[in-house]
């Protein structure tokens, strides 16, 4: 049976991991390669590297990071942050990324999703959606098809959550899938960083609305939250940062917890049952 994935997310600023793992004696908790190897050994099913560098030379630094990490780490690696177009996608894939996540650039020009998936295959194109609950009556829609309407419940934000895009998150998720995204990374800005649990309604509405896998992101504070995102939110994978980085829980604990609740997960140690 296909297992649900647990994905630690590493924020990288100018080639260094910020929010480093605090509970193990790594020689250098800011070194992306060392952190990636650590999580690989811990049993992470995939890794996401999010480039949060503001400067313009970020791309080259990130390419070097990806090259170094992919020399040592043999689990899937997704790279996102600052991807402006097809050329950037190619750079990251050639450096050794397995998937590239596109956010703002895809909203500014949705054709990028189609172009990138035509070129490199849907399997490596992740569309990242930062969504926030709509609190007041939305203004006049900016986009006829995808714009906010009276029924809209979540709005899409760009530039790392700084600017409202005027788009309905559910409509945008469906459009992204139609355009060729192979996976969606859905982050709730309302719950992100609060450790109070994922936005289950958002996750579920998107997951049930598209036929591609959905990664839930934003808000994991304990293992119950991971379970809820999968069982109630219908997520295919859960992304978390703080609970793993700060040593609150280990990946193996998360997997044991989920397994006990009947969620299929990949065991850390390979099975030794032998050939039947």
């Amino acid at each position: 049976m296909l297992t649900k994935r647990i994905i630690p997310c590493l924020d990288v600023d100018a080639g260094r991991v910020v929010k480093g793992v605090s509970f193990v004696n790594l020689r250098d908790a800011g070194d992306p390669k060392e952190m990636a190897s650590f999580y690989d050994e811990e049993g992470a099913d995939e890794l996401v590297f999010l480039d949060i560098t503001a400067s313009s030379d970020a791309r080259e630094i990130m390419v070097e990071v990806v090259k170094r990490v992919s020399e040592e780490v043999f689990i899937p690696l997704t790279v996102g942050g600052g991807i402006r177009g097809v050329a950037d996608v190619r750079l990251m894939l050639e450096a050794g990324a397995d998937k590239v996540s596109i956010n703002t650039a895809a909203i500014q020009d949705p054709r990028i999703i189609a172009q990138a998936s035509d070129y490199f295959g849907s399997q490596c194109i992740v569309v990242a959606i930062d969504a926030k609950r709509v609190m007041s009556t939305p203004p006049k829609p900016t986009d006829k098809e995808l714009g906010l309407g009276p029924d809209s419940r979540w709005e899409v934000y760009t530039h790392g959550g700084r600017y409202p895009a005027g788009l309905d998150a559910i409509k945008w998720a469906k459009r992204s899938a139609e355009l060729g995204a192979g996976e969606l990374l859905v982050t709730s800005m309302d719950t992100d960083g609060r450790l109070t649990g994922y936005d289950l309604e958002l996750t579920r509405t998107i997951s049930e609305g598209v036929s591609i896998p959905v990664i839930a992101s934003g808000g994991a504070g304990n293992l119950e939250h991971l379970y809820e995102a999968i069982a109630m939110g219908k997520a295919d994978a859960v992304l978390a940062a703080s609970i793993f980085h700060y040593g609150t829980f280990r990946i193996s604990q998360a997997k044991e917890f989920l397994a006990q609740r009947g969620i299929p997960v990949r065991p850390n140690v390979p099975t030794e049952r032998g050939r039947e």
Partner: protein, 207 residues
Amino acid sequence: MSQLKIAIVDYQAGNLRSVAKAIEKAGQRPIITSDPNAIASADALVFPGQGACDSAMRALNQRGLTQPIKAFIATGRPFLGVCLGLQLLFSYSEEGLEPGLGTFPGRVRRLPDGLKIPHMGWNQVRFTQEHQVFKDVPNGSYFYFVHSYYPDPEEASLVACTTTYGIQFCCAIARDNLVATQFHPEKSGTLGLKIYDNFIKFAISRS
């Protein structure tokens, strides 16, 4: 460890770097190439690939690689296909119109509707055939998959292992010196590297 000439077929279809690194871990220095002569003279050939069948077949044809790959397989030297590199060995794919390499009779079919597609993540495999390339890989091991189509060989004896996602399907084939997997050993951690290591040892034993 003795050095072999291991060629990885480059036709602009996916992440070859991980494949090369996995082979380096097994103590070899592979070449990534689209040169038909390099393929013809290789001791062992690795045929990876991601993306769509039609564009992959067109890319192989444009580079003049279709015949060299077929010819290499016909020599019986060690061959490892991965993902699209498995699917392209069959006659036809439901994904496109271009015929595949046709090494084996059979079709590549789309995974059934009602499932999340692509089939993406770690799934468990059940071996139905022994092969040195899968030596010391326990039955029930998990490997990383990402695909929307699966191979359906006409000859049951070709199937090396199966997995289940909605339906049970063939996720690796093996015959003599040829092995090909639907999953990505280069993305499947320690056990995946074991497969590359086994393949290298196997290739050395045959050279």
